[in-house]
Subunit: 518 residues, 2 copies
C-alpha cells in the first residue's frame, strides 16, 4: 500500500466515488491505485476545463464532491477557469494535482511551476502532501473543507507522497462532518422585525436556499409579509418550474438591476452576497442597492440556510401550508413561432419541451436571455448557470450533471463562442453515453461584447473590432464538430425543423446536438 492507495481509499470511504481526470506521468501511481479500485468511476476529459467543469456539474446535482485528477501546474491551469466558476457557485470539489517528487523540485525540470500560487486564487482550501504519511489526514481535511464551506479544495500530491510505502491498513472511517452552523436567534428577530415594519423588504437568496423546500418557506414568508423574493444574478442551482415558488434574479445589466432594486428599503440576505455590478463602467454605480438600503444578514454562506428560513417563518408565525407554486402552462399563452429561426423561438420551444425533472445547463450568455422568463411555467426542472463569468462551463457542466443523474434529461443551452472553449466535452458525453441534448445558439458572434462596445461609445466597428468580436469567417459547423467527437447532431434554421429535431432529441436518449442557426 502506498500514498496513492490511501488517497483512493480515503476518498471512497467518504463517498467520493467519481473522479474526473486527465492524468500525466507524475500521477501514474495514482492512476495505478485507481485502477485497482473499480468502485471508483474514472471519467476522462480531453482537456482539464472539461474535467473541472464536469466535477462542478456533478456536485451541483449530488451535493457532494467529485475528485479531479490534474497533471502538475499546467494541467491545473487548464482547469482553473471552471474552478473559478465552481468557487463562485460554492461547489464542493476535491482536486488532486500531481507534483514532482519533493526532492526533485529544486532541479526546476521543464514541467516545474509554482502550483500553490496557481491554485490559491481558485481554491477555498489548499494543501500539499509531501509524504505518504500525510495523505490520509490531508485528504480528509480537503474533503471536510469542501463539504463544510462548501467550496473548492485543492490537494497537491507530490509524486513521492503517492509512491511512498505505507503499512497496509483497513479502509479509513468516514469523516464526521460538523452540523451546519445554525442561524443566530438575534438575526431571526431582527429580520422578522423588519418584515413586520412598513419598510419594503426583499429576501435575497442563493445556494441551498434555492431548492424547492426552502424556496417554499421563503414563498410563505413573502406572501404573508408582502416581501419580494430575489436571488443572486448567478446561482449554482435553482429548483424551479411548475409547482415551485417563483423567484427572479437580480438583473445582469447595471441599469436594469438598479431599476429593479430601486424601491427596496431593506434586504434580508440568506447565503447571498450584496449585489454588485458584474463590471465597472465609467459613471455607473458598483453597488446596485439604492442608497440607504438596509442590509440584514440572516444567514451566511455555509450556515443552515434552510433552517434559517424555517426559523424566520416560525418567528413570524406564517402559515405552514406549502404554497401552490406556479401553474404549468408551458407557453400556451403565446403562439408557436414560425419560419426563420430566432434565439427567442429556440428558447420558447425549448421551455415548452422540457420534460419533467429536466436539468438545464445554461451558458447562452446573451443569445438565450429570454429562456429564464419563458420557462417560468415549464415542467419542474433544475436550472444550472455559469456563475463566475468564466466562459466555457456549459458543455462540461451538462456532462457532470448527466453523470450525477443518469435518469434525468439534461438540456445544455450553449452559446457558440463560449461553447468552443471546452468543446472537447462533447467527446466525454459520447464516451459515457450521456443523455444530454445540446442546443447551440449559433449566432457566429460574441454577442454580449457588441453591446459592451456600444457602452464604451463605439458605434461603427472597424476591421480589428469586427475580427475580434465576430466569429463568422469561417462559420463553425457544429454538426461536423459534434460528429468528429462521436456525438450525433443536426442543424436547424427554421422553427419547424428545430421543433422536429428537439422533439426527436428529447424523446430519444442522447447525446445529441442541435445547431440552431439563428
Amino acid at each position: 500500500m502506498n500514498g496513492a492507495d490511501r488517497l483512493c481509499d480515503t476518498l471512497l470511504a467518504n463517498g467520493v466515488d467519481v473522479c474526473f481526470a486527465n492524468p500525466g506521468t507524475s500521477e501514474m501511481h495514482f492512476v495505478a491505485a485507481l485502477d485497482e479500485r473499480p468502485q471508483m468511476r474514472c471519467v476522462l476529459g480531453l482537456f482539464e476545463g472539461v474535467v473541472t467543469g464536469a466535477a462542478d456539474g456533478y456536485a451541483r446535482m449530488t451535493d457532494r464532491p467529485a475528485a479531479t485528477l490534474l497533471h502538475l501546474g499546467p494541467g491545473l491551469a487548464n482547469g482553473l477557469a471552471n474552478l473559478h466558476n465552481a468557487r463562485r457557485a460554492r461547489t464542493p470539489m476535491v482536486n488532486v494535482v500531481g507534483d514532482h517528487a519533493t526532492y526533485f523540485l529544486h532541479h526546476d525540470a521543464p514541467l516545474t511551476s509554482d502550483i500553490d500560487s496557481l491554485a490559491r486564487p481558485m481554491s477555498d482550501w489548499l494543501g500539499r502532501a509531501g509524504a505518504a504519511g500525510d495523505v490520509q489526514r490531508l485528504t480528509e481535511e480537503a474533503y471536510a473543507a469542501s463539504m463544510r464551506l462548501p467550496g473548492v479544495s485543492t490537494l497537491v500530491l507530490s509524486a513521492d507522497a503517492a509512491w511512498g510505502e505505507l503499512a497496509p491498513a483497513a479502509a479509513p472511517a468516514p469523516v464526521v462532518l460538523p452540523p451546519l452552523r445554525p442561524v443566530e436567534p438575534h438575526r431571526v428577530r431582527e429580520a422578522a422585525a423588519r418584515l413586520r415594519s412598513e419598510a419594503r423588504v426583499a429576501l435575497l437568496l442563493t445556494g441551498s436556499a434555492l431548492r424547492a423546500g426552502p424556496l417554499a418557506t421563503a414563498g410563505r414568508i413573502g406572501d404573508a409579509m408582502g416581501a419580494r423574493l430575489l436571488m443572486q444574478t448567478s446561482n449554482g442551482r435553482v429548483e424551479r418550474g411548475a409547482g415551485r415558488v417563483e423567484i427572479d434574479p437580480v438583473p445582469y445589466a447595471v441599469d436594469a438591476a438598479v431599476a429593479a432594486l430601486a424601491d427596496i428599503d431593506a434586504v434580508i440576505v440568506v447565503g447571498a452576497k450584496v449585489p454588485v455590478a458584474f463590471f465597472a463602467y465609467p459613471g455607473k454605480p458598483g453597488v446596485l442597492l439604492p442608497p440607504g438600503c438596509e442590509i440584514i444578514e440572516l444567514a451566511r454562506h455555509g450556515a443552515d440556510l434552510d433552517g434559517a428560513l424555517d426559523a424566520l417563518a416560525e418567528e413570524l408565525g406564517v402559515s405552514t401550508r406549502r404554497p401552490a407554486g406556479v401553474a404549468r402552462t408551458q407557453g400556451a399563452d403565446t403562439a408557436m413561432p414560425r419560419g426563420r429561426l430566432t434565439a427567442d423561438a429556440v428558447t420558447w420551444m425549448t421551455a415548452r419541451a422540457l420534460p419533467d425533472a429536466a436539468i438545464v445547463a445554461d451558458e447562452t450568455i446573451s443569445a438565450g436571455a429570454r429562456f429564464f422568463e419563458q420557462s417560468r411555467t415549464s415542467a419542474p426542472h433544475d436550472y444550472l448557470r455559469i456563475t463566475g463569468g468564466a466562459i466555457g462551463i456549459g458543455i462540461p457542466l451538462a456532462t457532470g450533471a448527466a453523470i450525477a443523474c443518469p435518469d434525468r434529461k439534461v438540456i445544455s443551452l450553449q452559446a457558440d463562442g463560449s461553447g468552443m472553449y471546452t468543446v472537447q466535452g462533447l467527446w466525454t458525453q459520447a464516451r459515457e453515453r450521456l443523455d444530454v441534448v445540446t442546443i447551440v445558439f449559433a449566432n457566429r458572434t460574441y454577442g454580449i461584447l457588441h453591446g459592451e462596445m456600444t457602452n464604451v461609445g463605439v458605434e461603427q466597428f472597424g476591421r480589428n473590432a469586427t475580427r475580434m468580436l465576430n466569429i463568422d469567417d469561417p462559420a463553425l459547423d457544429w454538426v461536423s464538430l459534434a460528429n468528429g467527437m462521436g456525438v450525433e447532431a443536426a442543424r436547424a434554421d427554421t422553427t419547424e425543423r428545430f421543433a422536429d429535431l428537439l422533439s426527436t432529441a428529447v424523446g430519444g436518449r442522447g447525446p445529441f446536438l442541435i445547431e440552431a442557426r439563428i
Copy 2:
C-alpha cells in the same frame, strides 16, 4: 486619448504590431483603441491557449514579441499552459490582461480573482497599470524585459487605467534596448583550456546558439577540438537540415540520457540549463550528467551566445571556414515504406517531403519520435518543439509561426491526445488563410503514458487505467473536426494514400489537415 490608446501606440512604436486576442468586457477600451489602429494586426483565437501558443510561435520565428489580449484571471488562466511553454522556450511576449477598475476590485464581483498570483509562476516580468499615467512606462518596461531576458512579460491593465484620459501625445519613441551582455573573457579562457585538455568535452547549447550561424561556429570548434555538440532536450527553435551543422538533443528518457552522457568529463554550457530528468522516478537519478562531470558556464541565457561562441573559436584559433553541414539525402538510403500506415512511415515520408525553408512545429510526443532522426538530411528547415511539457502547444505554435512567416510552409506534426487540447486553433488557421499542413498522428491513445505505467510496474491495465489512457472510444474523426472549423482535411490509413495527400498538401496552399490513422 486614453490609457488604452497610449498602450497601443507604445506597442506599435516598438514594432509590436501583432496582437493575438480573445477580449472580454473589461478590455473594451483596449479593443476600441486597437480598432483605431489598423496597422496593428489583431488575430482572434477561440480559446486563450491558442492565443498564447500562437504568440509563442510568432516570436520564435521573428525574435520579437507579439502582444496578447486576455480577459481577466480566467482568460489568463486559460492561456497559462502555453505561457509555461513560452517561458521554458525563453520566448519574448507581452501579455496584456484586463482587470476590473482599481476602485471596483474590493467588491469582489463574480469575475474578480487574484490575477497576480495566477500570472507570477508563468511570467518573467509582471506589472500592473492602475492609472492611465502609468501605462506608457509599464508597457515600455514589459517590452524591454521581454526582449532583454528574453522572456514572458505580463502587464495587468486595470479598466480605469485603460479608459483614463491623457493629454494627446505623439507616438512614443522606441525603447533603446541595452546591448546583449558580452561573454566574460575568463569564461572563454576556462572553456578553451578544457577543450585543449585530454578531457572529453561536450558543448551544450540552446536558445539563439541553435541558429545556423552560431551552430556553424560550434561545429568548427567541435571539429577542431574533438568536442561533442549537444542541445537541450527541448528548445524553442533549431535551424537544421541540409547545409546546417548537426546537433543532437539530450534524450528524453532517463536511462537513454544517462547512457548518452556517460562518457563526458566536462560540459561547456552555452545558454543551456544543466540537464535534468523530465520527471523523478523511484531509484533513478535526477541529474543526468555522470558523477564528477565538470560544468563550465560559458554564457548564460540572455547573454550574447553567438558572440560567446565566436570568442571561444577565436581563443582556440580554429578555422574560420564555415563547415559544410550535412548533405541533403532525404531518406534516399532507405526504401519507401508500403502498405498499412505506421507512425515511422508518416515521419519518414514527411521528412522526405519537407520543402526548403519549411517550419516544423512538433508536438508528436511519443508517436513521431523518429522524425528528428529521419529529418537530419532533409531540406533546411526550422524545428520548433514543445518546450515546457504542457501539451496543447502544437496547433497554436504552427498558427503563430505561419503568421510570422507567410511565405514559408509550416508543417504541424501533431499527436491526437495533445492536439485536442487546443484544437480550436484550426479555426484561426482557416480564418487567417495560413499555409499550414497539419499531420495528426491518430493512434487513439496517450501513448507516452502507457510506457510510464509500465515504469511504475503496471503490466495489465484494468478498466480505469484503460479509460484514462486510451481515447479510442469513440475514435476522434479529425476530418470532421477540421471541416467543422473550416479547414480542408482528408484521412489516410495506407502509406500510398498518405504520400498522395502529403504531396498535394505540400504542393498547394493550406491550411490542410491529414489524419494519419496509425
